[in-house]
């Protein structure tokens, strides 16, 4: 294995060499290094450095010697995997990714499956025994190349085959995907460099005062195939349960699968136990790697992996998506494991997550005999009871009512702000009513059907926007409280000692400013102005994150609310940003 120093424009990850600087190789390659230095197996890769990018702009083209070094770099990957780039037998395909020290919009992200042409597609079909797979690889590569290198702006993802993708590209940009894999590679590297000076990247840097000469590195990494044989497959692993946060590995595995199979939903993956039965050694190796990445990352990880002929490769490890419930459990658990201190744990949970956990629910059994008036799509969860009105003006005049509309538009937003819940006749989960209600954290049910407005207006109803039902009358709700949940109780305790803002039901000191007593016309799209000298704030609008920020900026000492933790977390987040 070559060492990093023998190249002018490339760096090759080498477990014995010192970690390169992030500025030279970019964030993505740096994390590959990290995985490799933990002794974990990642598909072989090399990096074209940011120095090469600077030279590209100085020379107006790929710098002298880079084309030769790309050949040398690819030869290294070939020898590691026993494959040939552009080969007619056991072909090597690569991914090409940009990697700046700071990621920027408008920069090229990733081209997968580069190195594909007629011969390579045939060789892949022969090797995998699956011509459809080979055709799919080719189609996807053609789309990536067309969009990212050739600058095609048409939607290529939904086209059925390579021929139609090629046709769409040439109709749009009058250019074609080259057949020569080496030409593909050189053009892709140049395009990644070029993208660091795209219009959007330039605008972004200007807005944030980032220097313009900050280029990008390019990571070239071998693709591995999970669909090679029965001893191959692909999967994902969460180091902790993403739904409830329990500390147990959790994931899916698809034998003979390729990464995109799982994503496309073409095939239903099996639970990880399937891998455990077939390949206990690989499963054991995977769990050991997961444990290291969880510990090293100091957070729950979402790990992508591929098994190729019994050999485990890790493709990516990053903080896992999680529900609000899981975020709370994981943050507290990491403190108990000695990984985080309480102050850091508070940064892992957002005010919005806690708000969603503390939403009231319809009391157990209360809905059983209730009359369902209408039902639709649950678009923004929560429960609210109130009198139904049918205009935004009426909603403003009766804060806390239920606004029911055929559909909503920007004209209705001030009414939606005043209402306790929003119900519409038309529209689905992406309608204006749904999007705005989620932004406001207001319960919302959409698509309840014709005549909903007429049948509900003037009645008192209970909207259950978690199940999408609207019930007649007022149903009892069960209020959730921080003190009833051990994890929330501990987080609240930590949060109280992390901010001087006092939050609770009995914290008021004069003078008090109560937003809930304001006249309707003052509750618009802006927060109400806080009078100078105010010590205590009341009112729901000051318990949301933007209200808390305004309160702190106005020098307020206390906020009165039943739910302390979301307010405390918003205050801590604001302190962190402004200090």
């Amino acid at each position: 294995m070559s060492t990093a120093t023998s190249f002018r424009w490339l760096v090759v990850p080498d477990e014995t060499a010192a970690e390169p600087s992030r500025d030279l190789v970019g964030g993505k390659a740096w994390s590959l290094w990290r995985m490799q230095s933990l002794g974990l197996k990642v598909p072989p890769a090399f990096v074209v450095t940011t120095d090469a990018c600077a030279a590209y702009f100085a020379d107006g083209g790929l710098p002298d010697g880079l084309a030769d070094e790309l050949v040398t770099g690819i030869r290294l990957l070939e020898s590691r995997l026993g494959r040939t780039f552009g080969g007619s037998e056991r072909p090597l395909l690569v991914s090409v990714r940009s990697g700046a020290a700071i990621s920027m919009p408008g920069m090229m992200d990733t081209i997968l499956d580069l190195g594909c042409n007629d011969e390579v597609e045939a060789a892949l079909a022969a090797e995998s025994g699956d011509p459809d797979f080979a055709a799919e690889v080719r189609r996807r590569f053609t789309g990536f190349y067309g969009r990212l290198v050739l600058g095609c702006t048409e939607d290529l993802e939904d086209l059925p085959d390579t021929a139609s993708v090629r046709a769409a590209i040439s109709a749009d940009v009058d250019d074609t995907v080259p057949a020569d894999p080496w030409e593909q590679l050189r053009a892709a590297v140049a395009s990644v460099f070029q993208s660091s000076r795209s219009r959007r990247a330039l605008a972004y840097r200007k807005h944030y005062g980032i220097p313009d000469d900050l280029g990008t590195a390019v990571t070239v990494q071998a693709m591995v195939f999970g669909n090679l044989d029965d001893d191959s497959g692909t999967g994902v692993l969460f180091t902790r349960n993403p739904v409830d946060g329990t500390r147990e590995p959790y994931g899916e595995y698809l034998q003979r699968g390729q990464g995109e199979d799982v994503v496309s939903g073409r095939v239903t993956p099996k639970p990880l136990s399937d891998l455990e039965e077939r390949w206990p050694t690989v499963h054991g190796e995977l769990l050991e790697a997961a444990e290291r990445l969880d510990r090293e990352g100091r957070d729950a990880q979402d790990i992508e992996f591929t098994v190729q002929s019994g050999e485990l490769f890790l493709l990516q490890s990053r903080p896992a998506k999680r529900t609000a419930r899981a975020a709370v459990r994981i943050a507290v658990e990491l403190v108990d494991e000695g990984v985080l201190d309480p102050a850091e744990a508070l940064t892992r949970v957002t005010a919005d997550q806690i708000r969603s956990l503390l939403r009231p629910e319809i009391a157990a059994g209360a809905a059983d005999n209730a009359e369902v008036l209408v039902a639709g799509v649950a678009a923004s969860p929560g429960v609210a009871t109130g009198v139904v009105v049918d205009t935004p003006e009426a909603a403003q005049a009766n804060p806390g009512c239920i606004l029911v509309r055929k559909s909503t538009s920007p004209d209705d937003v001030h009414g939606m702000i005043a209402a306790a819940a929003v119900v519409t006749e038309q529209g689905g989960a992406t309608s204006h009513a749904a999007v705005v209600s989620r932004a406001l954290d207001t319960p919302c049910v959409v698509g309840c059907g014709a005549d909903t407005v007429e049948s509900l207006v003037g009645r008192t109803v209970t909207v259950d926007a978690t199940t999408g039902r609207v019930y007649a009358g007022e149903l009892p709700t069960s209020a959730v409280d921080e003190s009833e949940d051990e994890d929330l109780r501990r987080l609240t305790e930590w949060a109280e000692s992390a901010t001087p803002l006092r939050v609770g039901t009995d914290v008021a000191v004069e003078p008090v400013f109560d937003a809930d007593t304001l006249p309707a016309e003052d509750l618009g799209e802006q927060l109400p102005a806080i009078p100078a000298g105010t010590k205590t704030l009341r009112g729901a609008v000051f318990c949301a994150p933007d209200g808390v920020r305004a309160a702190l900026d106005a020098g307020v000492d206390a906020i009165v609310t039943n739910h302390r933790l979301p307010v405390l977390l918003a205050a801590i987040a604001h302190q962190r940003r402004t200090s």
Binding site: T153, Y204, H207, Q353, D412, V435, A439, D546
Partner: protein
């Protein structure tokens, strides 16, 4: 075209409650013109004033209903505009709503839950896609941009919101209390529906 008085009253259908400065930000008129228009509109009963903020009245809406057919007769009879609106409604508008939903919610193990914005890659991809849709919209709405310069201004403001969101000001994707990409997109949608005399499809 609308004169500055008509345009100011019209702007209050895009933003229901606003100050003269906020309305000028949308319609690109000098603030002094907006203030003069608002003063006249309040006297006419077309607009209500409430502590520096303004709202359109039912009489104001009736006034606009009388103005639009004359002001936009050319746009409404232009086949290229009609085709552009059809493309807009069936294409990019649906994409923006779906992307905004993807921004607000993520799928965790089959269930859609609020996006806590912990996954910077996920967020960056959505903003990137919104940026591409915004660029595509520029092409699709070309006939409207030619007919009315405000349309391009909306697209510029959406681009500015996306740039702020890219820098971590996440409210600028779908926040209601700021000129987020979604807020401005909906203003633009309402504006072009009124230009063309169409109903909002749901």
């Amino acid at each position: 075209m609308l004169d500055f008085y008509e345009l100011t009253v019209h702007t209050l259908t895009l933003r229901q409650l606003g100050s003269a400065e906020q309305l000028a930000e949308i319609n690109a008129l000098p603030v002094a013109d907006v203030e003069a228009a608002l003063e006249k509109a309040v006297a006419d009963g077309a607009v209500m004033a409430a502590r520096g903020n303004f709202m359109i009245t039912p009489a104001g809406r009736e006034f606009l209903d009388g103005v639009y057919p004359r002001a936009f007769a050319g746009i409404r009879s232009d086949d290229a505009v009609t085709a552009a609106m059809d493309d807009f409604e069936t294409g990019v508008n649906k994409q923006v709503l779906a992307l905004t939903t993807d921004w607000q919610t993520v799928e965790v193990d089959g269930a859609r839950v609020s996006n806590d914005h912990a996954d910077a890659d996920y967020d960056a991809k959505i903003i990137e896609k919104l940026g591409r849709v915004q660029e595509k919209t520029q092409k699709i709405l070309a006939p409207l941009i030619e007919a009315d310069p405000l349309v391009e201004r909306f697209l510029d403001r959406i681009g500015a919101a996306l740039t702020r969101a890219e820098g971590g000001e996440t409210d600028y994707v779908s926040g209601v209390r700021v000129d987020s990409a979604h807020t401005v997109w909906f203003q633009m949608h309402e504006h072009i529906l009124r230009l063309t005399g169409r109903e909002r499809p749901e």
